[in-house]
Amino acid sequence: MNTGFWSLDATWWPYVFILVAGWLATDIWRFLGVFLSDRLTEESEALIFVRSVATALVAGVIAKLIVFPGGALAAAPMALPLAAVAAGMGFFWGVRRNLFLAILAAEAVLVGGSLLL
């Protein structure tokens, strides 16, 4: 049986999907954190492992958004978002550690590039 977000033709289903797969799946960690806050330490090996898995997962999603973008970016050549990301990272680590300016640099390459191409 298909249980995807779009699988049921009912207004309530997407909200149930968001509630269970979104709210419950995130707040369970926050609530656990409240209950466990006096027992575990942030330096324990188990938490380092668990955080590595979480970081890798988020990094994977970011890479997918950059390499296989949807919507308005899907038509652009793959090199453009890669060049934009390189500009942002290059600015942040090479020029100045300013998140705002680094994002601006990446956006300038992306929007400028898509206007020229």
């Binding site: 249980t3 997407p14 380092i48």
Partner: protein, 247 residues
């Protein structure tokens, strides 16, 4: 003033909780919330690209309140992933909320703070609110911390519900180049801020390996690519960390 710290402690006795709530609300006027607002404007545009309603987008932002988890959720929605696999992927992607919450709670609680209040405030924990809490709370008198964080967190969430709606609505009216730029804010913001926040070898290795394995697993195993990326790249990163520590 030499007795400045002492006078702050005195203020705590005199000032009502309402004062600290207002101070928390005023705390919104700084650079990290501004960056978060631009990221949520971008997320609104991304959600529209995925085909979500404005209602879905706003409810998701308020209920999940963690941009990485929301990106995973959006990814699963656009791939048509079933609810069980989506729960697994979103749960895995938000494990970091556990250590983040665990590190803030001891800063915030007093003996009198009801657990229900801590559970409510824990919902506000995400990267921006966490950084703000770690930065600001230790300097405040203990009794001021819960009202300060309540004021800050509530304002931050409401502001970003407006931001995500604005991004969603803007994506329809701006030229496609600008819409592409808005949708691109999210991956750029996270890539750079994650790379800046990665302190441990394990964090850096996980970031680098995840970036490589994400697209690879998307091509090899599109159904469960997120979980595979997390488990394989995360385990490898942890092994790198163990290996580096032993040497």
């Amino acid at each position: 003033m030499s007795d400045r710290h002492g006078s702050v402690e005195e203020d705590a006795v005199e000032r009502p909780a309402r004062y600290w709530v207002l101070r928390g609300i005023a705390g919104i006027v700084s650079v990290p919330p501004l960056i978060l607002v631009s990221a949520f404007i971008g997320f609104g545009a991304l959600a529209r690209d995925t085909g979500l309603d404005l209602g879905h987008t706003v409810v998701m932002t308020g209920m999940v309140w963690a941009l990485p988890a929301q990106i995973v959720l959006i990814g699963a929605i656009s791939a048509g992933t079933g609810i069980a696999a989506t729960i697994a992927a979103v749960t895995l992607s938000s494990v970091r909320l556990l250590p983040m919450t665990m590190s803030v709670m001891p800063l915030m609680r007093t003996e009198k703070t009801p657990r229900a209040v801590l559970l409510w405030l824990s919902h506000y924990i995400a990267v921006t609110a966490w950084v703000e809490a770690m930065r600001k709370l230790p300097a405040l008198p203990r009794s001021a911390r819960v009202p300060y964080f309540a004021g800050f967190g509530t304002t931050l969430i409401l502001l970003n519900l407006c931001a995500v709606s604005t991004g969603y609505l803007m994506a329809a009216v701006v030229p496609p180049h600008i819409a592409a730029g808005l949708a691109f804010l999210t991956p750029v913001y996270f890539l750079i801020s994650l790379s800046a926040a990665a302190q441990l070898t394990a964090d850096r290795a996980a970031l680098a390996l995840g970036l490589v394995f994400g697209p690879v697993f998307h091509l090899v195993a599109p159904e469960f690519d997120l979980m595979w990326t997390g488990l394989v790249a995360g385990t490898l990163a942890f092994l790198v960390h163990r290996w580096r520590r032993r040497r």
